[in-house]
């Protein structure tokens, strides 16, 4: 049987090179140059899969990207890919593919009984069916219906292939390598401009590869090869085949997927880059994307063996395959005749040409007649026999405008129907570029309207379907684009082309039969991939969905992997008929990227694993790793979370770490804190405007804690700032917010107060910071810096000193985030590890304990210190936090001040920061838990706040929590409840400072 459907000769396949492949486990032989689709057709295989909802048998319809049906699961194991169109898979030795959406097999599929329940699968069945009761979701909808309606299966292991991203800037980018695109690239390339020509197929030529044409007295194939070799010889021209433009974004930014190894046998792909995503910036873009043929909508038009006429012509002429031996052609334009003529020349028997037009004449019609082909003008297909393959069609004389055809039927036996409903220009990329479409009555198609970016259009995309027009428009567009980018270009003289004249097309959107559309068993499919029928569109309109966007969503027309390439125009024309509105008034749906599916692997490129995001580590990081620390991500930083000893869980480790800080001494790597050096004669004035409290009079050598707010008065960062000199400050920010704060400072300096002389420099990674905290911190410090006067009088809280610590030049700050005596030692970044080790050695006799961010959080919560982003969420003022003391009453202005007297910020029932003590001391509330005053209130219960931080405090032997509660400041001592899924936890509202309220421990 192998190759039994091959023509005798011709085509762009290499008949000497046989290629073995399997489909659904069965072995076949194809030829070099085949696609999986053409090879299957050559082997007589039409039935490729089952449809989405009804599980009807489906076959190959098209020959390119527009294919709605023939999706297969390609390859096995880690490299398997679901839902790839057989028409776009180049055949390679050892290829293995299988049907999707079939169980147990494509020949016998259990879910086909869905067809019997078709009434419940009509338009909007998702919306109508998947409602209540909730149990049905668990028992029926998810496990049964969703599985039955799925397509291919995603691979379960990680993608082993390599993908690259490329960046290219060109003068002229030409999308589409058919006759229009080739001549555009040639005209632009000859001017010397940097030109990029891309085409999705394995070779350039586009429609010319499927048609018998002569250009300049030569075969089209010869013209293509001459043109491509001239382009390849140009230094500044880049040619990319097997490359599909999938997205067209602002300012001529286009993304292209290049398939480099998908056509090779697996063994030859090893170590090679599988695909590249090209990011292109083009000054001018020439779109020459061609057109897709439209199906005709008649009863049971989805049966395998019913194909687009142009696709049949492609299989015959390009792949040397006869998809059927006895064909019926059904057309509303002249193109169908050429298919018949070419197929007959290749050995097919043409049973009849049904022409929807009453009158048709012209070169091709005459030629068909001369070949003795039976022509039936004014006839249509009103029924199809055969389930897994068309066996015969029922044809009737068309009764124009009638809902039912009463004319006598005739049965014509056939094994293939080639249909042509006209051509739809591939406007997708133009639409993605934000362009609006224009409807051409005469050509019955949408074409690009006014250009919206630096772009132009050529060939079939413009509705210019003849080869001579494609060549001419292409050359003109290419030359003009090059000229606009500053090169001197001229369109070459027109080439002499031999091609048949094409007559007019007559719109024919839907074919009724002996019964009206939607009645009886027959289905008139509009969207084959989504199983949407003409009756579904009628139903949608009856149910009130009239906008084309609503109809799309209700009926699913135009969704899926093909994005309605063959169905969109038919759907909106049928809608236009039902609404009795002209097509342009109905409008089109929006075309969105990607034009065809792109794998995640390609989008990710090399940005995988460690490369997916930068990782920032401190100079002490390796010590933490060696000491067995568990890490937490804070922004891009890796911070030690806790340091478990053998056998300890997080709870045990943090209990030990916290008690060490409270009773002895602990040490923290605080290098990740954001640090900004602020310099200039107006630095003090600047900080005075940025912070809510006063900074102008801060003495040199002193440190102050400050809150930063937005103009709306809401807290957005906090930290300490030290005055290093009269004109110089060192600001610290929260770890995750450092870049944002720097941007914020720059914004005010550059946009609002350019008169201030202030310069900001990020020094986060210039200084390593080691924080020693606890009652014994002073003893450790004395050993490290014997020459430094550490007395409280000489070195008080909120001051800093420069000096030598462990032999290193250092800045030491007396600030505290734990409430304990704390020295924050800053040394140049590279010396962080040396300092850390010196601290560990000096502290050994006091059992100095390294602690991580979790203990730091507990220790600060015990003191009621906030963390921005945890106790605040962008709607929290300093007053809400009980930090009114830090908001200056004296300063005339600072950022946020005016907002504190707004009606909303002065409300007394705002959510305010309080502490919570649970009745049960070991019950730790979940962070984020909602709070209520009345635990018996009917649902929905009035929620009055939420838990922002919650921990177990080993120092207190009690759980503690911070919470934002409506009017909380006036509710001290009151009871509040957290209703959880399985229980309700009761707590008492208390002051947020749980530990050492008097601050006696600050000085050790």
């Amino acid at each position: 049987m192998t190759g039994s459907h091959r023509t005798q000769a011709g085509g762009r396949i290499d008949r000497q090179k046989k290629i073995n492949f399997t489909f659904n486990g069965k072995s076949y032989v194809g030829m070099e140059g085949d696609t999986l689709a053409s090879a299957l057709l050559a082997n007589g295989v039409h039935l490729l899969g089952r449809s989405f909802k009804y599980h009807r048998p489906r076959g190959i319809v098209a020959a390119g990207a527009e294919e709605p049906n023939s999706m297969v699961q390609l390859g096995e194991g880690a490299v398997t890919e679901p839902n790839i169109r057989a028409t776009q898979i180049s055949l390679y030795e050892g290829l293995s593919a299988s049907s999707v959406n079939v169980w147990p097999s494509v020949e016998f599929d259990v879910s086909a009984m869905n067809g019997l329940f078709a009434k419940i699968f009509t338009a909007g069945f998702y919306n109508k069916t998947f409602m209540w009761p909730r149990d049905m979701w668990i028992k029926l909808y998810e496990p049964v219906i969703r599985r039955a309606a799925g397509w291919g299966k995603a691979p379960t292991t990680s993608d082993p292939d390599i993908y690259d991203h490329m960046h290219l800037t060109v003068d002229v980018m030409v999308v589409g390598g058919g006759p229009a695109g080739l001549s555009a690239a040639l005209a632009a390339g000859r001017s010397g401009a940097r030109v990029l020509l891309i085409d999705e197929q394995s070779e350039f030529g586009g429609s010319l590869l499927s048609l018998n044409r002569q250009i300049d007295g030569k075969n089209a194939a010869e013209w293509i090869s001459e043109t491509v070799s001239e382009l390849a010889g140009m230094e500044d021209v880049t040619l990319l085949n097997r490359s599909i433009a999938f997205g067209y974004y602002d300012q001529n930014y286009l993304c292209v997927l290049e398939q480099r190894t998908d056509h090779l046998p697996q063994a030859m792909r090893k170590g090679k880059v599988r695909q590249r995503v090209w990011h292109i910036r083009a000054i001018e873009v020439v779109l020459a994307t061609g057109a897709h043929e439209r199906p005709l909508v008649f009863a049971n038009n989805d049966r395998p063996g019913i194909m687009l006429a142009g696709a049949v012509q492609t299989y015959v002429n390009r792949y040397g395959v006869l998809p059927g031996r006895k064909m019926v052609i059904f057309t509303n334009n002249d193109a169908g005749y050429e298919t018949a003529i070419d197929a007959k020349a290749a050995g097919a028997n043409i049973a009849a040409i049904l022409d929807a037009r009453e009158e048709a004449d012209g070169e091709l019609i005459e030629a068909a007649k001369a070949l003795g082909i039976r022509i039936l003008p004014g006839y249509a297909i009103t029924g199809v026999e055969g389930g897994k393959r068309v066996k015969a069609v029922e044809v009737r004389k068309i009764q124009k405008g009638a809902k039912v055809y009463t004319s006598a039927p005739e049965r014509i036996a056939c094994d293939l129907v080639a249909m042509s409903g006209g051509w739809s220009p591939v406007v997708h990329l133009f639409s993605q570029s934000q362009g609006k479409l224009h409807y051409r009555e005469e050509e019955v198609c949408f074409v690009p309207g006014t250009p919206v970016q630096k772009q132009s259009f050529a060939g079939a995309l413009n509705g210019s379907f003849s080869l001579s027009a494609c060549l001419e428009e292409g050359a003109k567009a290419g030359a003009e684009a090059a000229t606009k980018t500053g090169f001197t270009a001229k369109a070459a003289n027109a080439l002499k082309v031999d091609e048949p004249a094409m007559g007019r097309i007559e719109p024919f959107w839907i074919v009724p039969g002996a019964r009206p559309v939607g009645e009886g068993g027959a289905k008139h499919f509009v969207d084959l991939q989504n199983d949407t029928t003409a009756a579904d569109i009628e139903l949608a309109v009856r149910e009130g969905f009239e906008s084309v966007e609503h109809v799309k969503r209700y009926t699913l027309t135009g969704f899926g992997t093909d994005q309605g390439k063959t169905s969109n125009i038919n759907a909106l024309a049928i809608l236009s008929g039902i609404l009795d509105k002209p097509i342009p008034k109905v409008g089109t749906t929006t075309f969105r990227p990607p034009y065809t599916p792109v794998s995640y692997g390609a989008l990710a490129g090399r940005n995988l694993g460690d490369w997916s995001d930068p990782v920032r580590i401190t100079s002490i990081h390796d010590w933490h790793v060696a000491s067995g620390a568990e890490f937490e991500n804070v922004g891009q930083w890796k911070r030690p979370w806790y340091f478990p000893k053998a056998g300890e869980d997080m709870h045990a480790a943090t209990n030990r770490e916290c008690l060490a800080v409270r009773n002895g001494v602990g040490v923290l790597d605080a290098s990740t804190l954001g640090k900004i050096d602020i310099r200039g004669k107006d630095a003090a004035e600047f900080l005075n405007r940025i912070y809510t409290n006063a900074f102008a009079k801060l003495g040199v050598g002193r440190v102050r804690y400050g809150l930063m707010c937005h103009e709306d008065g809401m807290v957005f960062d906090d930290g300490t700032t030290a005055r290093l000199a009269e004109d110089r400050f060192l600001m610290t920010t929260t770890t995750g917010n450092a870049a944002v704060v720097l941007d914020w400072l720059e914004e005010y300096l550059q946009t609002e107060w350019p008169e201030l002389q202030v310069y900001c420099t990020s020094v986060t990674e210039q200084w390593a910071t080691v924080s020693i905290a606890g009652p014994m911190a002073g003893k450790v410090m004395a050993k490290l810096a014997p020459e430094m006067n550490l007395s409280n009088d000489d070195f008080p809280f909120l001051s800093f000193k420069e000096g030598t610590v462990a032999g290193l030049k250092a800045r030491v700050f007396r600030i505290s985030f734990t409430g304990e005596l704390t020295y924050e030692i800053n040394v140049p970044w590279a010396q962080g590890r040396a300092l850390w080790e010196a601290v560990m050695e000096a502290g050994a006799e006091f059992d100095i304990t390294p602690y991580g961010t979790e203990s730091m959080h507990i220790l600060r919560a015990e003191k009621g210190f906030i963390i921005v982003g945890q106790e605040t969420d962008g709607t929290t003022t300093p007053q809400d936090l009980g930090m009114g003391w830090i908001v200056s009453k004296k300063k005339p202005d600072f950022i946020g001040k005016r907002s504190y007297s707004r009606m909303d910020t002065s409300r007394t029932d705002r959510k305010q920061l309080v502490g919570l003590m649970t009745d049960n001391p070991s019950e730790v509330l979940p962070e984020g838990a909602q709070l209520v005053f009345d635990k018996n209130a009917p649902r929905p219960m009035p929620m009055v706040g939420h838990v922002t931080s919650s921990y177990y405090s080993a120092a207190l032997g009690h759980s503690i929590a911070l919470a934002l509660v409506k009017g909380g400041h006036s509710k001290m001592g009151e009871t509040i409840h957290a209703p959880l899924l399985d229980k309700t936890v009761t707590a008492r509202i208390v002051d947020p400072v749980f530990y050492d309220k008097e601050g006696e421990k600050l000085n050790g």
Binding site: D250, Q251, Q434, E711, E746, D893, R898, S899, S901
Partner: protein, 99 residues
């Protein structure tokens, strides 16, 4: 992705920049002199135009400079780029509408 012509660095991809909202909204000299309505207007109200729109951008992953851009919010065409403190260029009656 926009292609933004930074006045200091030249054309760069949008990913290098931060958006800063509508341009030419000066912080009031004396906020305390404003009524609640006037202050709310400064805080919250923006033009949100369809068409040419003056807005601020910061080349945050480049030179860190803030500058102004006139962008057509429908077509995303960038009509002009100018430095902070400069007056918007005259784009003519048609293109500059709404700036």
């Amino acid at each position: 992705m926009l292609y933004i012509d930074c006045p200091w660095c030249g054309k760069r991809n949008e990913t290098e920049f931060h958006y800063g909202g509508e341009a030419h909204i000066a912080r009031p000299e004396d906020p305390s002199a404003l009524s609640d309505e006037q202050w709310a207007d400064f805080l919250f109200m923006r033009k949100n135009l369809k068409g040419p729109y003056a807005e601020r951008w910061c080349h945050s992953n480049g030179c860190r400079r803030w500058f102004n851009v006139i962008r057509n919010t429908v077509s995303h065409e960038i009509l002009a780029v100018y430095k902070m403190g400069e007056t918007p260029p005259d784009l003519g009656p048609k293109k500059g509408e709404g700036v």
